[in-house]
Amino acid sequence: MSPVDWKRIFRLDFSRHHLKQSLDDELTHHLEGRIEEFRASGMSPDEARLEANRRFGDLEGIQAECHDIDSVHLKQRQRREYVRSVIGDIRFTLRNLRRSPAFSLVAVLTLALGIGGTTAIFSIFNGVILRPLPYHEPDRLVVVWESSPQIGYPRLPFSEPDFIDYREQSRTLAQVAGIGFNSYDVLGIGDPQRVQGTQTTPELFGMLGAEPELGRLFIAEDGLPGAEPVALLEYGWWQDELDADPAVVGTSIDLNGRSHTVIGVMPEAFQFPPPITFLGQMLNFEPRIWTAYVIDPEEGVRDQYGMFVIARMADDVTIDQVNVELGSIAARLAAEYPEEKEGVTALVEPVHRHSVEQIRLALWILLGAVAFVLLIACVNVANLLLARAGTRRREIAIRMSVGAGRGRLVRQLLIESMVLAAIGGVLGMVIAVVGAETLTRLNPIDLPAMFQPQLDIRVLVFTVGVTLLTGILFGLTPALQTARSDLNALIREGGRSTEGPGRQRTRQLLVIFETAITLVLLTATGLMIRSFSQLRVTDPGFNPENVLSIGLNLPAQSYPDGPQQLAFYTSIAERFRAVAGVEEVAVATARPFSFDITGNGYRVDGEPPPEPGTGRIAFNRSVSAEYLETFQIPLHAGRFFDETDAPGSEPVVVVNEAFIRQHPGFDGMVGRRITGSDFNAEDPNWLRVVGVVADVHSMTLEEPDDPAVYFPFTQAAGGYAYLLVRTNGDPETLQPTLQQLIWEVDSTLVIDGVGPVTADIRTSLQESRFSTVLFTIFGIMALLLAAIGLYGVVSYSVSQMSREIGIRIAFGAHPTVVLTGILKQGLILAGVGIGFGVAGALATTRFLQSFLIGVSATDLSAFAAAIAVLFAATMLATLIPARRAVRIGYSPASELQL
């Protein structure tokens, strides 16, 4: 007989105990059989037994061996069975989902939104904070600052002599490099253009572990005074301008009038510097060129701070150890140069932490916000599942009655959740990837360069983790509910699909929960919106409308000093004024939102000399007389500059209100003398204050102005200056005309940075705008989801009660009463949710405080607005099913059909 497929009859559920028992039986059978044989052939019972045992062998050993084989086999089979049953469950789930497309679609989309949004934010988080800097052992790199807290500057760049000393004396810092940021007029590469560049001492590249793509890097000799100037090109620039021509190495280019030899090209992957913050601003800088920082030990001024320093810590050294050593070097220097160095110390910070410090908190908050959205999504899906579980009670009851264990059912429900989560997760990832690509490509909301999403393996792992967590989160509630179902009750109920009060209660609680979270999120959104709009309308202290700024850098050969520079700018300004549409023209070496900052310590005549190291710093701005009118800055006292302030006359200055606050104790500043130099000299350079102007936001809209001293351009001209043109229409339309005028005077001039001042102000709002927009998006998503959630619950209870409603109305109850009843239910749910939400918001919005400008974290109008919006949405969500109920009311017969 051919072998039959016995698998059907074969029941594979041996337990361990069974195994042993069966084995015993089998072996016993064999032995007894043999014994009988021997007895039949004439042996005595005892002899037979002995012979049988002898022929059999080591009974115990054989039992043990067989048992081992069986146990291993059993485990294998059990594992295989388990996997097979899980796969079966997954297939069953997929079939089920296909049979209820509406439910599946809603659930999957909800999840996709939640997971996708979270992944998108995380990818930004990943790109900004988690991604290590592209250098060799980046966590050993530190930024080194000088520090003088007494004068209000806990972080200062280095002065050149200090740099030399620290570099030489530090043992804890293995390599120390100094960098400076510059703009260069470039002749010899493409059209004459102005680019940003970095000066660096030769240690930098070795410290970062960088190798050149072509040519060589800087060596120590390149940094010595009198060395041949050399330059390195940035990869992208080299590709664009020179078509990646390798012959560029060895050629000469002209940088700011000096000839430099190109010694190499940096690789594409090389990215330096990472963003550095200074004075609260991020210096977003993309150098096209690197030049050698030449330090002349003879020439440095010890208290002129301008050099940024990056270093690599020695092996096995901690940051604290470095700080301690730097402190002792600082003390030595203070002892040697008490005037300049008293009270000045130095400190280090890890490069990476430092560069992302400002946005770290912002990103965490954004992540929190989107996590809220995800939570709400989970609640919604959980509610959907609970509703669905209600209609599947019969199926569950049948399955339980044919032996499916409770555990098995719970497992099946969890698998269902996991499958939903998985589909939602994949869809969400797609949304996130597409969204991220679109965002970076189009940049519709003016995304700051820092916030580049980075999609890599970490994001994938994160998404998978979030998906799993999500699945468990929303799957647990329905699964547990089912596990607790009473089997008998289920079977007795038969086909009626009324819901037990317990299930409905759970759904209501969940809706209250998600309403509360939504309110918290909406409140945060409201606060952000208020703060941002406040920021946007913050009076900058001047009128930036219709002012065009044109930056020029006069090359030193043609315009070697003050008189030539002044002559040039004066003549250009005259020409500009002749153009139709130009109302006023000013010249200035610094303008608001330009980040050109130079400063000095100043002393007022009559003030005691400051303690060494505690000079009061104010920023220097050299501006022409028309500056005030061009920017319409209010004059508070005295006068502004005029034609009496000529190169030969008494040096005058105008100060701002912040300066006055910085030097208290004087009754009026006009007429007094101040000096910015030589605190202890016998006859310092006195400057006469002739006026006081209002403070102006010069760097950000968030922060007020620093103390400033305005110099007349006629007395303090410079080669690098801005032409500020107030026009009576759109300033950009005059741009070509004005540029042409400049080139008519000198066609070799490179014009750098043309644009309306309002554009710069707008740029400064980038980060705020970004956060606000994201919050708004999240708020809207949350609102929608919460409204849908509430709608679901109310709608379901309406359909549950439809029969009851029909009866009531048939018996004379007025439909309005029914409507009110349902509205009341929705109201209570929403109300309780909002109540908890307000409490939650009060507790959590304090974490936003650092981002809120001019708005308190408990701002009433934001709270009120959030409550109103949410209330309106929830009322709408309740009204729709309520109206349905009323329609039942007008035709109760349809519901009474039995």
Partner: protein
């Protein structure tokens, strides 16, 4: 000992067991032992206990299957049959064994061996 394919070691015992089960009614361990004895005219005397680890191993490998039934003696016993996989494996293994044996015989030049009667085989 023959070497099997895919790393499975088929001892001669396993081979004999599978072959015994081929194309017949299900048999329990004792019957299998008796059958092997009979067919080999008692030349092959196996330690009977060794049969059972072999049987269980074959079950674990999916080459035979066992089922509990009542034996002719009205006792509970485990009856074995050859599975489809077992059939295939047996074919393959037998084929190989035969090839191998023929080769050995060729080398030894059977005709030249003086076959003594059973019982006097010298080692």
């Amino acid at each position: 000992m023959g070497s099997g394919n895919a790393g499975r070691l088929y001892g001669t015992l396993e081979l004999l067991i599978m072959n015994t089960l081929r194309g017949v009614e299900p048999m329990h361990g004792l019957s299998i032992a008796r059958e092997i004895e009979n067919l080999s005219s008692d030349v092959l005397q196996i330690e009977e206990g060794a049969l059972y680890p072999a049987l269980h191993r074959l079950v674990a490998q999916g080459l035979i299957e066992g089922e509990w039934r009542m034996s002719e003696k009205r006792r509970r016993a485990r009856f074995y049959i050859l599975t489809k996989a077992g059939e295939k494996a047996l074919q393959a293994e037998l084929g190989e064994w035969l090839v191998h044996t023929r080769a050995v015989l060729d080398v030894l030049d059977v005709a030249a061996i003086d076959l003594k009667p059973v019982g006097e085989v010298s080692r």
